[in-house]
């Protein structure tokens, strides 16, 4: 048995094996290490044989898990030995003991190089092997050209060349610059003609790495890969020793298909056809056989072929064939195939059009969720998570909840997080969401992070309809005997806030609520006690008229906790006690919590973070990224006031907890902020009444772009004018179809009006008819915008064939997330829309929206309020900054001046308000003339970033219908577009509500000003002269 000729080594190994316990083993190993150390110290008497033996012993000891912190030098020095046996040991032990960063490796670079360029084939092999396994950056710099030479040399034997190919691969990974692309791609193509299969396999591995980094450069290798694949698949002229269980090198097949997946597409029709023939053959011709190795090998090829088909975007027929295959796989008994079936189905989710076919396998996938194998369960969970959407969310989430009670602990956290996310993303209604989360807390409280219950509180707080329901649910759960502490927290919080809404129900009087919550008090931790105290204070506040007995009980608790060890609790107890003696003032201080600002779900963020270090599929990641934005946005119609607070995005993750704390401590500590509760109870902004009946008039203008004369002028000034042709056609289309609204379903309210309101506001209703309501909420950050379209079904039956498509003008990049095909009854679907502004233009994006209700097909083309002024950010500028800038931007096209007539008469204050609503910051005092107005703003677009714009308006106190406007900015097209925009508003738009001044909401629509003057700037110019 012992082929090894080294007796000493064998003796040592059996000694170690004979050790009775770990302690004995350690003693034996230490003895040996000591021995080796002394022998190495006195190197003189060491024969090469002994040296070799000791180095092997070191490796063995190292493998047993002991630290070997000496002798590396001896191992490395063997590399320089002249004879093969020593050299071999030196190379192999070095590459096992050291990693690429070890300093000693530097010492042998020269020896290694000499071995590589030397004539001795066996030495070359040893050197290439070591460099291929542990070569680092330095090796790559000094050895790459030599290795390259070996690979393409015609005099080298295959055994050297295949090692050279893989060695070069390693060096390339360490430093991609070592392969000079020019010329090398031709070499690679030649190498792919290699007859020796070993060399070809290695070269293919190298090609995969090269192509993955730069597919274009190796375009010429593509047809060769296809030919190799054809040859393998047909088993044409493959040496028998390279067939594995009758399959022509499955590894080479897999590698070749892997390489093909890095090419974006295959354009050449012949190559493409040839490849699809091969793939078809693999897909159809793979059978399940008895021999497990043959089976594995053929399925390895099959799964790679599936991946390639997915990558190539094959015809739908082939895709369905793939899904059908996968459907078969996830039902088989063989665990490996089932695992891979699930995994690949998850990848398949990325392919459009097949999701529906995948959904048919839902039941089967759910069975896999109960598989004894955790690897398979994980895959099933991932797949369910990925395939979940509005249509099947209820089923899937309920399955997950059910599974939660039996799932093993390792998976519970992930499971509960995923269930919470899906519930939030796809909730058909909010009460269901509350149900799910409460169940989740009930079943797996330990695994429910705080973020999850914070989120449910946010939802309930921001949705008044939900409050009684949530409170009632919380009340039910509190009846349960053994309750998780998180449930106590969320229950107490909800009942404190909204318990009074249940007052009429049995068992829900303040006193009863108090008693049931108070039962939990002795068993909970400090953080929960704090919440319970707040709850008591709230209950006390809501029990009007005060029940003396209840009050006494609660006061007793407050007094008890006044001397509690935790300082936060102490403070709460003291303050609540003091406050509750104030009587009526308590109601103000402890009023309902204000609504939370809208924010992205912290859960989604968390999920994304978590995915970084779990074995998630990239498909899932991508999908979750795409869908992130589908998360319910807390519906919080706040009055518009320019831009939203900017700090929200930055503190996304930590917000919830901080916020909660902040709010509760606000209440406790500061009586000065006692308006907090009352003031910030935002009333939903009433739909702004019809300010502008002129909307219709403005409509065409806004879409058609600059009128003829102005357009002519702009062709000289505006280098981008030519580009505007395209959006104009879109605009015309939109305009034409606006009239088509006169089909059976009539919009409620005028679409144009709604559009104009939204041009100055960031949220409101864009469109409404008897069946559907489309709301918009927008956030703007520099040149980015994020709109959420709320598609609400107003009926009790679903809306089907819902389509929404954006027709963006050229200056906007818009991306609408998936719009579900069906909107369930009484449900609201939210579709985020990302906008990037490329440059200044007043062209308008159009939403082409259609749906079917019953037999009625409704189609509406809606202008989206993504207008120039949304990308403005007001900025005030001081005199010393303003004037030099103004001076430097002199004369057209950077500075334009125009006299405008037919202006709607307004006072300067009104005009300042109008400017403010357009995001232009009026700076008083810059102009000495009190009849003039100076404003400044920054315009954000991708091309210009933040560009400063300066505006000056000179009015004539004797005739308020005319004025002179001067605009300056660093971009001619921006100057022009902004001037036109301001002009439009001055002429047409009456002053509207969003002005900060408490202007009456219902401003009377002004009588239309002469449309002639407005439509024909030429005439106006003439009048001016």
């Amino acid at each position: 048995m012992a082929i090894s000729g080294m007796r000493g080594l064998s003796v040592f190994i059996s000694d170690v094996r004979n050790c009775q316990n770990k302690e004995q083993e350690r003693i034996r190993v230490d003895k040996e290490l000591g021995h080796i150390r002394t022998r190495f110290k006195n190197e003189k008497g060491l024969t090469p044989y002994e040296k070799k033996k000791y180095v092997w012993k070191m490796l063995y000891i190292y493998m047993l898990g002991y630290d070997v912190d000496f002798g590396h030098m001896e191992a490395v020095s063997l590399i320089s030995a002249p004879k093969y046996p020593e050299k071999q040991v030196g190379y192999i032990v070095t590459s096992c003991l050291l990693n690429e960063n070890h300093d000693f490796l530097r010492l042998v670079i020269n020896t290694v190089r000499n071995d590589i360029i030397g004539r001795n084939e066996t030495f070359q092999c040893l050197a290439l092997t070591m460099v291929g396994n542990i070569g680092g950056k330095e090796f790559s710099e000094s050895l790459a050209p030599d290795v390259q030479k070996l690979l393409i040399s015609s005099s080298c034997r295959p055994l050297v060349r295949k090692k050279a190919a893989l060695c070069l691969l390693r060096l390339y990974r360490k430093n991609p610059d070592v392969v000079n692309i020019e010329g090398w791609s031709d070499r690679m193509a030649q190498l792919l003609d290699e007859r020796d299969m070993g060399v070809l396999t290695s070269v293919m591995s190298l090609l995969v790495a090269l192509v993955s980094n730069n597919a274009e450069a190796y375009w010429n290798c593509l047809p060769k890969c296809v030919r190799i694949l054809e040859r393998l698949a047909r088993n044409q002229d493959i040496p028998p020793e390279y067939t594995y269980y009758g399959i022509p090198s499955p590894w080479l097949q897999v590698k070749t298909m892997r390489a093909l997946q890095y090419y974006p597409t295959i354009e050449d029709p012949n190559t493409r056809r040839a490849l699809f023939d091969v793939l078809q053959r693999i897909l159809m011709g793979t059978d399940v056989v008895k021999n497990v190795n043959k089976n594995n090998a053929s399925h390895a090829v099959l799964f790679e072929a599936l991946a390639l088909v997915m990558h190539l975007d094959a015809e739908k027929e082939m895709m369905s064939q793939c899904v059908a295959l996968l459907g078969k796989f996830i039902a088989v008994r063989e665990p490996n195939i089932r695992y891979l079936g699930l995994e690949n189905m998850t990848r398949m989710l990325l392919v459009t059009d097949v999701q529906d076919i995948i959904k048919r396998h839902q039941a089967q996938i759910i069975t896999s969720l109960k598989d004894p194998d955790v690897s398979i369960r994980r895959r099933a969970l991932d797949l369910l998570y990925g395939m979940c959407d509005v249509t099947n969310a209820k089923d899937i989430v309920e399955e997950l909840l059910q599974y939660l009670s039996t799932a093993d602990f390792a998976m519970r956290e992930e499971l509960s997080l995923k269930a919470a996310i899906l519930a939030e993303k796809f909730a058909p209604d909010l009460s269901w969401y509350v149900d799910v989360i409460l169940q989740l807390i009930d079943k797996a409280g330990d695994f429910v992070s705080d973020d999850i219950w914070y989120r449910v509180v946010q939802f309930v707080t921001n949705n008044e309809d939900l409050q009684p329901y949530a409170a009632a649910k919380a009340r039910e759960y509190l009846d349960k005997p053994a309750l998780h502490e998180t449930m106590v927290k969320v229950g107490a919080y909800l009942l404190g806030e909204y318990g009074h809404l249940l007052a009429r129900r049995p068992g829900c009087s303040p006193k009863e609520l108090f008693l049931i919550i108070n039962e939990k008090l002795p068993t909970v931790s400090t953080s929960t006690i704090a919440i319970l105290l707040s709850t008591y204070a709230k209950i006390l506040m809501h029990s009007q008229p005060t029940d003396p007995e209840l009050q006494e009980q609660i006061w007793a608790i407050f007094r008890k906790y006044e001397s509690y060890i935790d300082v936060e609790i102490q403070q709460r107890a003291v303050e609540y006690f003091a406050l509750s003696r104030k009587g009526a003032a308590l109601t103000d201080v402890l009023a309902e919590m204000p609504k939370f600002p809208e924010r992205q779900s912290a859960l989604l963020r968390k999920a994304e973070d978590a995915e970084v270090d779990t074995a998630e599929q990239s498909a899932i990641k991508l999908r979750s990224q795409q869908q992130t934005s589908n998360a319910l946005v807390v519906a919080d119609p706040r009055p518009v006031n320019g831009s939203l607070p900017t700090n929200q995005q930055l503190v996304l993750v930590k917000m919830p907890s901080q916020n909660m704390e902040a709010h509760s401590s606000d209440q406790v500590v500061s009586v000065s902020t006692k308006e907090n509760g009352t003031v910030s109870k935002d009333e939903p902004a009433p739909p702004t009444p019809s300010e502008d009946l002129l909307g219709d008039l403005l409509g065409p203008l806004a879409i058609e772009g600059p009128p003829a004369a102005a357009a002519a002028a702009s062709t000289e000034q505006n280098p981008l004018a030519g580009l505007e042709a395209a959006p104009n056609s879109v605009g015309a289309l939109a305009l034409a179809t606006l009239d088509d609204q006169a089909n059976s379903v009539q919009p409620i309210f005028n679409i144009a009006e709604r559009f104009h309101v939204l041009c100055l506001k960031d949220s409101g209703v864009l469109y409404e008819d008897p069946y559907v309501q489309i709301g918009v909420k927008a956030e703007w950050r520099a040149h980015h915008g994020r709109l959420v379209l709320f598609l609400g079904n107003k009926n009790t039956s679903p809306l089907v064939s819902v389509r929404a498509q954006i027709l963006p003008p050229t200056h906007l990049k818009m991306e609408l997330s998936l719009v579900p095909d069906t909107i369930p009854p009484r449900a609201q679907v939210q579709c985020p829309l990302e906008v990037v502004n490329l440059r200044a233009s007043r062209d308008i994006a159009v939403l082409d929206f259609s749906y079917t209700f019953g037999t009625a097909v409704v189609n509406a083309k809606l202008r989206l309020p993504v207008v120039l002024n949304k990308f403005l950010q007001p900025i005030s500028v001081s005199a010393e900054e303003f004037f030099p800038q103004w001076k430097s931007l002199s004369g057209p096209p950077l500075r334009l001046q125009e006299v405008v007539r037919g202006v709607k008469p307004m006072s300067l204050a009104e005009m300042a308000n109008l400017f403010a609503s357009l995001h232009l910051a009026v700076t008083p005092g810059l102009d000495t003339n009190p009849n003039n107005l100076v404003a400044s703003t920054t315009f954000c677009s991708e091309s210009t970033h933040a560009m400063l714009c300066l505006i000056r308006v000179e009015t004539d106190p004797s005739d308020r219908t005319q004025l002179r406007i001067t605009l300056a900015s660093g971009d001619p097209s921006l100057t022009f577009e902004l001037k036109e925009l301001v002009k439009e508003y001055l002429i047409n738009i009456p002053l509207t509500a969003p002005a900060p001044a408490p202007a009456p909401q219902a401003v009377q629509p002004q009588s239309p000003v002469t449309p002639q003057a407005f439509n024909d700037p030429g005439a106006m110019l003439a009048g001016l002269l």
């Binding site: 090894s4 060695c167 993955s212 490996n336 270090d613």
Partner: protein
Amino acid sequence: MWKISSSSSRSQFRIRRSPPTATLGSLRCVEDIVFEKNCEQERRRKSVGRFGFYFPTMINFVLLISRQGKVRLTKWYSTYSQKERTKVIRELSGVILSRGPKLCNFVEWRGYKVVYRRYASLYFCMCIDPDDNELEILEIIHHFVEILDRYFGSVCELDLIFNFHKAYYILDEILLAGELQESSKKTVARLIAAQDSLVETAKEQASSISNIIAQATK
């Protein structure tokens, strides 16, 4: 009507560093977010190795462990420090040895996949990137075992214990740089035999009279 103020000496206009609306702050924050998002996408598009390189590696390491958790062979194709190596072995042997029979051969571990296969008392494990082809690796393991089998003649764990260095030689002929190097059993057997004979020849030379004399007179 329009007076140009001469008070300013600055010729270059710049936006105030701290405008009241915090324009620049928000600008930066958006850019940061976008940047991070791009990086994230980039990272997801390419599978990043442990040290930030974007290349698909096939096998990060090979591990042979016995049922008792004793390590019989380790080979690291990605760079791991000594500490990391010990940790990986400890963690993985816990994960793999605890798995029952008739489960699938794949384990997800720290964002990687470990493909393992048990032969009698020995577990052969290979760690790969999550996007790699698992079955292919599974058959590389079997390929390796078949070659060992052919070399030792019905291989058992003891063979690998006492001839662990041979196992390393053989593995080096099959895998290189974490990729499959040679898929012909015949070729590998031929190469190993050639190496053995080289070592034998050297030994014979060493034990020849002239060498003994040379040693003695040194």
